[in-house]
């Protein structure tokens, strides 16, 4: 090998160049993100007002607010979480605590991964045939929530599984040694310890559900419905679908542009809040665990 100075310098130069390229590309990714966020914030912030958030859309959706869409999205988020969170957590507990490394476990994992990879529009079709038509729920919050719930189920299962896995086995053994049963161990030891990470996962999936459009197209979303839902069999407007409608097929696309910016900003706002909350929780709990 040649250890001459020029060779070493060449080597270092190459490294420096490569690192600069990687740094620049990473910065580009961040710039893209900031560009999108700031563009929508810049145009949308003047639209956002208390009135925008709490009044009905008017005038072919070119004026007024997005109140029914916000309420609709909240209903769908709540509905899908009521369905997906318990089942997802129970499912993850079974997979992580009860099954040993076996064919069954691998199969279930494979199916969960497959479900996670199915495109959201396929969930939409499925929800329409099963919930709307076959079970006769019609276009309703119930059908939409169940569809969204199934969509987000793999996310909940996976994050819960990760959370359970991160609880060290010594805690389980300690609990057994004290004479606790498996169920007691799970309930009193494993779940409380895994709780922060589970909650973080759930919060992140709320963000995802609130922005999904394709699954609700044919299961619940209403084009224009300036009233609030009264029950789970009602149709609702939803923020993402509303944004789609007013930016592509509204009666007056140019005039409703400010409304579209506003709606996009509300959606981004939800995502931001959800992400910040999840990160804050993660930080808060990780400090707490360290102290113990």
């Amino acid at each position: 090998m040649n250890f001459s100075k020029s060779n070493v310098r060449k080597k270092e130069l190459k490294q420096w160049m490569a690192f600069q390229v990687f740094r620049a590309l990473s910065i580009l990714v961040v710039v893209i993100l900031i560009l999108i966020l700031s563009f929508i914030t810049y145009h949308g912030i003047s639209v956002i007002s208390w009135e925008f958030l709490t009044s009905m859309p008017e005038d072919g959706m070119s004026k007024g607010g997005v109140f029914p869409a916000i309420i609709g999205t909240l209903c769908l988020v709540a509905g899908s979480m009521i369905f997906a969170v318990p089942i997802g957590i129970l499912s993850a507990i079974y997979i992580n605590e009860y099954t040993k490394a076996s064919f069954f476990k691998r199969f279930i994992k494979l199916m969960t991964n497959n479900l996670a990879g199915i495109p959201s529009i396929v969930f939409g079709l499925f929800g329409m045939t099963l919930f709307v038509k076959t079970l006769g729920f019609g276009d309703s919050i119930l059908a939409g929530s169940l569809t969204l719930g199934l969509l987000t189920l793999p996310v909940v299962i996976r994050t819960t599984e990760e959370a359970l896995k991160s609880v060290e086995n010594s805690f389980r053994h300690g609990s057994y040694a004290l004479g606790a049963t498996k169920l007691q161990t799970i309930r009193r030891v494993v779940l409380p310890m895994a709780f922060p990470n589970i909650i973080t996962g759930v919060i992140l999936s709320i963000g995802r559900v609130s922005g999904e459009t394709a699954p609700i197209l044919f299961t619940v979303a209403a084009y224009f419905l300036p009233k609030l839902p009264t029950g789970i069999s009602d149709q609702v407007m939803a923020l993402p679908y509303h944004l789609y409608v007013i930016s592509t097929s509204g009666t007056n696309i140019e005039e409703s542009r400010p409304m579209a910016y506003g709606t996009a900003l509300v959606l981004i706002g939800i995502v931001l809040i959800v992400n910040i909350a999840a990160n804050a929780l993660r930080k808060y709990f990780s400090k707490k665990v360290k102290m113990n």
């Binding site: 090998m1 270092e12 490294q15 490569a18 990687f22 740094r23 590309l25 990473s26 580009l28 990714v29 961040v30 893209i32 993100l33 999108i36 563009f39 318990p86 089942i87 997802g88 129970l90 499912s91 079974y94 997979i95 099954t99 279930i108 494979l110 199916m111 991964n113 497959n114 479900l115 990879g117 199915i118 495109p119 529009i121 396929v122 969930f123 939409g124 079709l125 499925f126 045939t129 189920l153 169920l183 992140l204 963000g207 995802r208 922005g211 459009t213 394709a214 197209l217 044919f218 993402p240 679908y241 789609y244 930016s247 592509t248 996009a264 959606l267 981004i268 995502v271 931001l272 992400n275």
Partner: protein
Amino acid sequence: MKKFLKKAVEKTIEGVLFLSSTITTVTVVLIVFFLFREGKSLFQSSPLEEGFVLAINKENAVVDLSSNQIKNIFDQNITNWSELGGKDEPIFLFRLDDIGNYYTDEELGENLEFFPQKTNELIDKSAGIIAFFPKKSIDSNFSGKILAIENVNLYKFFSEKEWFPTAQPVAQLGVLSLILGTLWVSFGAILIALPLGLATAIYMAEIASKRVRNILKPLIELLAGIPSVVYGFFGLIVIVPQIQSLFGLPVGETALAGSIILGIMALPTIVTISEDALRTTPKEMKEASLALGANKWQTIHRVVIPFAGSGITAAAILGIGRAIGETMAVLMVTGNAAIIPHTFLEPVRTIPATIAAELGEAPQGGLHFKALFALACILFIMTIIVNLTVEYISSKRKNKTSH
């Protein structure tokens, strides 16, 4: 007794847990069932508009026509029966609405009660006729010949280029342009996302300080959290006009716009998975490389990246999978023209966008509806292939890292 009760409770709970764990499997099975049941029925249906028939003169030697031939006849690309293996006779098109050109209102009667009879008469006397009219208007003494229309078949479904399910008299159900459109846009997306995403992953895993990484990580998560409609909206307002003016195009809604947006959307998937893969490189390997005098870049280049190679491949495939299934953003920026793209600067239409755009208008149970389900089946199979490939790669990886 108490002990027994306790045991029973434990068993019941275990049962509930077990049932919950099967729900993903059950869902996948149900999705397959509903999708394929509806999609399969497409291949037992005639592409001819429901309730209608095509009739020709009884002297005409032609017995059956393919949907493509019928389309060409009605588009007047084929104007002589000899082109279809019949006699040398110019083709005479007759649609329901044309009846007024041949008979007066009086002749047809007040409620068109003589329509069947007159149509029959017309078919009988014109040798070159091909008549498209409702089945219920077939005269009781019908003396023409009803054309046999072959059902939609799998081969045609995949090989025909034209997608026009509401075309009259026969629906054109060729998915080739949609499949190619989907792949085209997705590969474009990965061409953009892979270099960017991989660079970011390498930077985060190997180069950046912990502090920088702690800033980058949540930002990437945020990028993943932005809803697809918002991406679509951004693309529609910013990227589409830019492309239009940059390349001087009549419309900016192109495959390129779709690829850029999908590329951005696929970034988080690629960054996260390849970063994880890069991080699994054993410390010993890196240290051995450094001890041999390699610098950090040489180590990354020659040790870390090759080691994480399969993981990076998995990330790329998964990124493609995400792009293939993405609906709303693509629907908003690609222009949705069902043509086979030749450059990135043409409008394209992807499978998910087609389903989302057309399902609302397709009457339930009709041919169009079934065709959209068949499309969903194709999409489903594509994504399952992607998933299984990734699964296979990562299971091989696990074996490698556990040694």
